[in-house]
Symmetry: C2
Subunit: 424 residues, 2 copies
Amino acid sequence: MSISMSSAATTPLTHLNPTAPSQISAFPTSLSLPTPSPTRPLSITCSSSTLQSQTSTTTDRLFNFAAGPATLPENVLLKAQSELYNWRGSGMSVMEMSHRGKEFLSIIQKAESDLRSLLSIPPDYTVLFLQGGATTQFAAAPLNLCSSPTHAVDYIITGSWGDKAFKEAAKYCNPNSIWSGKSDKYTKIPNFDSLNQTPGAKFLHICANETIHGVEFKTYPTPAGENEVLVADMSSNFCSKPVDVTKFGMIYAGAQKNVGPSGVTIAIIRSDLIGKAQPITPVMLDYKIHADNNSLYNTPPCFGIYMCGLVFEDLVEQGGLAEVEKKNVKKGSLLYDAIDGSKGFFRCPVEKSVRSLMNVPFTLAKPELEAEFVKEAAKEKMVQLKGHRSVGGMRASIYNAMPLAGVEKLVAFMKDFQARHDHA
Amino acid sequence: MSISMSSAATTPLTHLNPTAPSQISAFPTSLSLPTPSPTRPLSITCSSSTLQSQTSTTTDRLFNFAAGPATLPENVLLKAQSELYNWRGSGMSVMEMSHRGKEFLSIIQKAESDLRSLLSIPPDYTVLFLQGGATTQFAAAPLNLCSSPTHAVDYIITGSWGDKAFKEAAKYCNPNSIWSGKSDKYTKIPNFDSLNQTPGAKFLHICANETIHGVEFKTYPTPAGENEVLVADMSSNFCSKPVDVTKFGMIYAGAQKNVGPSGVTIAIIRSDLIGKAQPITPVMLDYKIHADNNSLYNTPPCFGIYMCGLVFEDLVEQGGLAEVEKKNVKKGSLLYDAIDGSKGFFRCPVEKSVRSLMNVPFTLAKPELEAEFVKEAAKEKMVQLKGHRSVGGMRASIYNAMPLAGVEKLVAFMKDFQARHDHA
């Protein structure tokens, strides 16, 4: 099937004011898309993307809605490209630098400093750059925070990732699932007052944003244990908004959603919790080893840390996480308004108050059209919109680096798609 | 002190035939360096470096003798730079690709295929791309290859890395140090016939090349255990020469010396050994999980794997590991001949038959000159020549990607340095 759209539709979208997404958020009456003509290719463009590459034009780029690894800021990629062969006159690539040399030390120190600034990380918290993804932390957290495998730990399970963390913990502690959203297909966050926390639990674990199910904590529960240790997997909403780090005993995040390429995991740990690892802890999973060596016990993922540093610098230059959050709210509202305004053509199963601003899962009232939707979107250079294989449907991941223009283009496409298919 | 050298010395070096290093290997008579003049800067150039960058000239580049992360092939860096922003028309960077998308799958499959070709890896061996460095494998190997912590394992300890592996293993098995070179300051490899292996040991572990001490196995011991499982940490000589993989139960290597950037660890495992991990094994250290998921159980270090793939492709294009070994023998001979021909001015402590072709440690008869040597070399754009902090002296790491020109320049500098200081 050939998808097409007349130039009459292209024109208003091209001139869309990116600062006023409400222009297209009332659906579908405010922007009447004409009946598609089968002879001309669909061409939806938006004006929000302003950065021009020196080496390649922005029109080459896809809008990549992947859940991670995910789109990176275009200016960060261009900077990394420009200095890949010879980093700032050093005569070598970042990939070739000794991790103990002054050049790389300046890179990792700047990255940590910018991250501390972005999240206002207090001095009594340790920042670690690690490897192995959040999945490695599913084991490392109980191994380090429970000095004995008999210790109790509480898990609130709001999606697949929280569930994986819970299951891995059973090897190293006595984990309790004190709430699970599974029976509701992971569309909710519990009322914190109703939680039955285990007395003496060493920590309370949450997944702050469930990448697959699109459920996001907007506030945080208070752990009942004497040390009040809240541990959060923030892989998919890390640095997407300001967070009060002092409410947490530990935050960890794989970099490959919001802050860098895959292969780097960041952990922010209240320093008094470090140093009590179980004897069976592999040395590479022992927070004290990494803390004592400033993340340089062995060779770290240097280029990945460098990329994270470029992203942190970019977030600082954008005005910090409060500004970043405003952009994310705008993008999320635009997309959720389009879904909710579609009169049921598109549906998001997640309870409105806890919908993720990062991962937006949605379905079609006519599931038989979903494959067509994903295929047509890809032809329009909007890729990776298929939902996770475990839940089906669609998912648009709209991390920090997804430009407003990408969400605008997706929303325009959704409206056009509906106009062409909603005439049953 | 101002280091200098007359143009009379520069000329023959500039015209040195790179295919005939013996021209300068007889020391110091075959190439008479004039007495240095204090007025002109030292300028040693060689002709072996032929690749010209489109974006930056080769003269910008340092000769980087770091032990790892280490110098990478210049053509690989330039290729990575050219496609960093938009990988082969895909509209995205490799760093932005879903690890389950067809683009990245083509990258990781090509990388594995080229590696299998380079090392003639038989089909009954599994290749894994992992994270966490060789240090993580120090724990993972016993966790996976010993189904019980009571199992015995033998370690031959020829340097610091073998010793670290041995110590980590004590958490997960019953390791025996059946030979240690510590009393000889790690300068030897044992006679294999004299080894007293433990009956029933689940594997015999060696570090095939000790990065710090410069000791390299040239042949391999036969394990006594019924399964004949030899496990080798090949981090610092991986892909530097052909290896008969069938002699090993497992080979593992951090990528950041010979085959890529830091953050990728490669494991080659006889498949029948996989699937017997201890219950306390973190899921990310379980070989079966990674084998069953083709290294994609969680998000792998995608960009690092891509870089390894570019290096493998380059090694294939060079004619494979037999050709690569010839180049490494030439570079190593040139440097060791210079040391041995210096009449004791330079010294290498390692027994001649087991000297590493990758890491060349050496000292000065006058240790008070070592800091000066390192400093002057750095001024001449030869960096990271200081020995590891645990052993002192100097170390030149001359991995696959170190051009012959780099070794020639170092040798010329060594001769000049001696000429200026050896007149006591």
